[in-house]
């Protein structure tokens, strides 16, 4: 991994926590202030979201979902980042962040109605401080920055996390948003989940440079870290968030990870990547690594690990049964609701005509 970079004259509380290779230093790991229960909770969350990911893939294969986008291998980022934030710090996801949403308390069965083709927005973003999915790549990054600018105008100390993939960093919106973040010193953490692939395009074809090193060009620091270490992600996001809360502005974190699954259930990665790559990254699996560390610390015995696995099974069963029971809204509601707060007359007429036509059938 490339060396971290620093903006001259800008304080960078994240960098000292990491080695030049982006690994969390031992003393930083021991100084996180997380007790055994909190450390176990990170493990449990990773197990739960991985089980949910697997269950969603099963449901897709059984025809219950139109599509599924796995985040297998990226759990440390999802769990570590959310745990490092306050509950009212908004998160702006792209489309692969169901693990993050679960960590915020969004019901996985309800979330899946998005993939089932029942809803464009199954949760109330205000309730979870978790924005709707943004499918057009990188378009959510300006929203995150705008929201953070708003927090600053309000004099509030909440911060914002905008997250995106490596492919997103090629888009104009990403660069524009980085630039705005720097100019307005927005309290925003820009978190790149660099999983090495954008569908079939590998990182080397996505960019000739380093993503983290772009931050100084926009006037704030950036760092490349090991994204498969949940405590490393936690430490980086927390330090960047504290910095933003103090009013010192944005921070870019490039978390290196790997997309272990296909791009989505419609994709066939055997057409473009080698098994050997998968094997290399399997050895760095974020959950296996963290489990052996926890066990080594004496924080996770077999009984506790088994109880967590059972909890994951129960959750998966509920996901299945609740998703299958999800009732479609009446067609008129699904199509016309929530378009306008003050719907214009012609729009209301079209809705009424449509609903009348349904009654006739």
């Amino acid at each position: 991994m490339a060396d971290v970079v620093q903006v001259v004259g800008t304080d960078d509380p994240v960098r000292p926590l990491f080695t030049a290779a982006g690994e969390l230093k031992a003393d930083a790991r021991n100084g996180l202030g997380l007790d055994a229960a909190a450390l176990r909770d990170l493990y449990q969350k990773m197990i739960l979201i991985r089980r949910a990911d697997q269950e969603a893939l099963n449901l897709q294969r059984q025809g219950e979902l139109g599509l599924w986008g796995q985040y297998l291998g990226q759990e440390a980022i999802h769990v570590g980042a959310v745990a490092a934030l306050e509950a009212n710090d908004w998160i702006f996801p792209s489309y692969r962040e169901f693990g993050m949403a679960m960590c915020r308390g969004v019901d996985p069965a309800e979330m899946l109605t998005w993939f089932r083709g029942l809803s464009h927005g199954p949760w109330d973003p205000r309730k979870y401080a978790f924005a709707p999915l943004a499918v057009p790549v990188a378009t959510q990054v300006p929203h995150a920055v705008g929201f953070a600018m708003g927090s600053r105008l309000r004099g509030s100390d909440d911060v914002v996390l905008g997250t995106f993939g490596d492919g997103a960093t090629s888009k104009g919106d990403w660069h524009e948003a980085m630039n705005f973040a720097g100019v307005f010193k927005a309290p925003v953490i820009l978190l790149c989940q660099n999983n090495h692939w954008a569908i079939s395009v590998p990182l080397a074809k996505q960019t000739a440079g380093s993503i983290a090193e772009r931050a100084p060009g926009y006037g704030f620091p950036g760092i490349r870290i090991d994204g498969n270490d949940v405590l490393g992600v936690f430490a980086a996001v927390r330090a960047a968030a504290e910095r933003a809360r103090r009013g010192d502005g944005p921070y870019l974190i490039e978390a290196m990870t790997y997309r272990m699954g296909a791009h989505t259930s419609s994709d066939d990665p055997t057409r473009y990547r080698l098994d050997s790559e998968l094997q290399t990254w399997s050895a760095k699996d974020p959950i296996a690594r963290y489990r052996s560390w926890l066990q080594g610390q004496g924080h996770l015995d077999d009984a506790a690990a088994a109880a967590i696995d059972r909890a994951a099974e129960t959750m998966a069963e509920q996901m299945r049964s609740r998703l299958r029971a999800a009732v479609p809204a009446p067609a008129g509601e699904a199509i016309f609701d929530r378009v306008y707060e003050r719907p214009p007359g012609p729009f209301i007429e079209e809705r009424e005509e449509f609903e009348a036509s349904l009654e006739g059938t």
């Binding site: 908004w90 702006f92 464009h120 927005g121 109330d124 973003p125 205000r126 924005a131 709707p132 999915l133 943004a134 057009p136 378009t139 990054v141 300006p142 929203h143 995150a144 920055v145 705008g146 929201f147 953070a148 600018m149 708003g150 927090s151 105008l153 309000r154 104009g172 919106d173 524009e176 948003a177 630039n179 705005f180 100019v183 929530r338 378009v339 306008y340 707060e341 003050r342 214009p344 007359g345 012609p346 729009f347």
Partner: protein, 322 residues
Amino acid sequence: MEPVTMAKAINLSLRDALAGDEQVLVFGEDVGTLGGVFRITDGLQKTFGVDRVFDTPLAESTIIGIAVGLALRGFRPVPEIQFDGFVYSAFDQIVSHVAKYRNRSGISMPITIRIPFGGHIGAVEHHSESPEAYFTHTAGLKVVAPATPGDAYALLRSAIADPDPVIFFEPKARYYMKEEINPSLEVPIGSARVAREGSGATVIAYGPTVSLALDAASAAEKENISLEVIDLRSLSPLDMPTILASLQKTHRAVVVHEAPVFGGFGGEIAARISDDGFDLLEAPVARVGGMDAPYPPSRYEKLYLPDVDRILEAVDVALAYG
């Protein structure tokens, strides 16, 4: 009140909106210190401060993108796009997010996007476009275009107060047209006005073509042809009752806009008239507009844009029909 220009009327409207609601924010390229390239935001930063009226980096997509984030944070953003031809950079944010965000979140987007539009100013490329049909075609947006200082003031107040996103097209060639305005008059979104009463044919216009239609009506009068002129003011939603009431009298319609005719908003008006008022018609609905060619170099714009003669020719054809 002294007569004011449309530019001043819009400035006053922004000023009153900023004064009346602390959540209103005005931002865009050069809108702060300079007061905008057309001086529409002149003096606003001085009165309301750099937090509420601010210059942004030169990036249309993110000017609109931050508006979405600010709206989610509870603000009422009023971003400016400096010229019509540069809104295309922001098209994705407008269509994919401003228009659809409420649909996927239940959270309203009270964003008013101001865009100076239209030609007749002798400008270089990309400064004279009429992109309204791209936006009327997008569900979730409301689209308006005033033609007079009074309507510009009132419609902008309505747009900023509206809980839904509004694209506010300002006919830049009419920025210096003057009239007395009455700030207490309300103009709701979705209401057209009869700009001139007549009985022979109805000329339907909006934004910069309204005064053209009125000129055509004055010229026609000399030939004893009585034209009614409708100023739509609002394109989406469209005020069909006002159009149909006029056709009850005239039975003939000519739609005029600067945008190219093919795929232009006039096509929607013609189709609606044929849906809802076919029996009223005594001639096909005529459309007069820009040509199906890129907006030309400025020395040719007078030939490209609709003018009084082209409107009157269309009227003659409509009157001679059948």
